[in-house]
Symmetry: C2
Amino acid sequence: MTAPTHPGAEPRVPLNRERVLRAGVALADEGGIESVSMRKLGGQLAVEAMSLYNHVANKDDLLDGMIDMVFGEIDLPSANADWKTEMRERAISAREALGRHPWATGLMDSRTTPGPATLRHHDSVIGTLREAGFSIEMAAHAFSVLDSYTYGFAMQEQSLPFETEEETAEVAETILAQLPADEYPHLAEMTIEHVLLPDYDYASEYEFGLDLILDGLERARDTA
Amino acid sequence: MTAPTHPGAEPRVPLNRERVLRAGVALADEGGIESVSMRKLGGQLAVEAMSLYNHVANKDDLLDGMIDMVFGEIDLPSANADWKTEMRERAISAREALGRHPWATGLMDSRTTPGPATLRHHDSVIGTLREAGFSIEMAAHAFSVLDSYTYGFAMQEQSLPFETEEETAEVAETILAQLPADEYPHLAEMTIEHVLLPDYDYASEYEFGLDLILDGLERARDTA
DNA sequence: TTTCGTAGGTTTACGCTGTAAGTTATACAC
DNA sequence: GTGTATAACTTACAGCGTAAACCTACGAAA
């Protein structure tokens, strides 16, 4: 017979790098990075672990590819608005992407080989700055501050043990209870009079720092 | 006999948490965080892996303790100078500590239980800001920007594949050779006309952003 | 001096990990 | 049909964190 060898066999959709990476991202989103093992990832794709090695060189390559997918989600500057708005929007987009994939931030410090999406992103940011009149040195400065701040913020945000506002208050309260207030008076004060207030939202901190940096960069460009 | 049971036995110095953590930090400094396994750490201390569990609850606890040791290396503000100098110095001290222990940065995003040195550090920073006239909200903003920037910078620095200036030029050159210059023109330009220049030093980028942020914070405090 | 509890070490074992090596099955070209 | 490339599977190994059980030396009590 010309049909598949055995009756019940479905015509097996072939794997490819894209599908492997996508499944890796999904798995990490769902269960954290520690739940991404070659065997479990194979399981998600209905395939044995070793089959993945036909599409990624090894686990590091897999993680590099996953990181690059996250970078691919960041909106590139579009050159429609002034540099400040563009930088602001792409920074916010970057933070959102890192927030959607909390595992990515911690991975970034160990990967040293940027993928194509990462390079495209960097190139586009530098280009926007250059066209806005930043010197090469100043563009390098700007790129460094903005990215460092964004990654660092994402990292701090991830290490907070809460996500919603209600959760925040709840967790802060139990922490505070264990916290010797006489040893850490300022920390205690800030927790009580700031973090525990009903409209506290750490995510909104991001834009304060972002605007502070953007204003500073504008000044630096104009005085240099 | 009242001497040790068998002649050649040395009087076995007992382990303790301090010694375990210290050995963990040393091992990670030397061979990277992936070389810190309970078995290898035991080996360093001439002890079986399971013996470590008498002094740390589990591996996470070990890592938490190691991170806290790094925080313990950061100079606290001393209240001798004005807030800006104090903040500047402790930020630089923090970056140096993270630079001495490159494994620490990547770990920080997954640990959510700060140790005593970490708490003491945070408390002291907030205290300095409050005494300098920052409102609680503004002190929280300041703390967030400064720390995010510092951690993010440390992370970026770690993911650079070079350390010395000569190495920088060397690596940049080979990267550049592989980089399709027509696809990433601005990245190529910056590499050629900035990174490859003989006196380029990424570490010095840090202070540019730091001063930019400190100036911005001063303005924010005074106008709020 | 003998006894005994306990703190801190060791041994063994289990299920998990990444991946090298070897084998088999599928799909397409001729 | 036959040959060949591709991509799957199977097996195996060394290393991981750590639970459970065990051993042994030291300090205090009897």
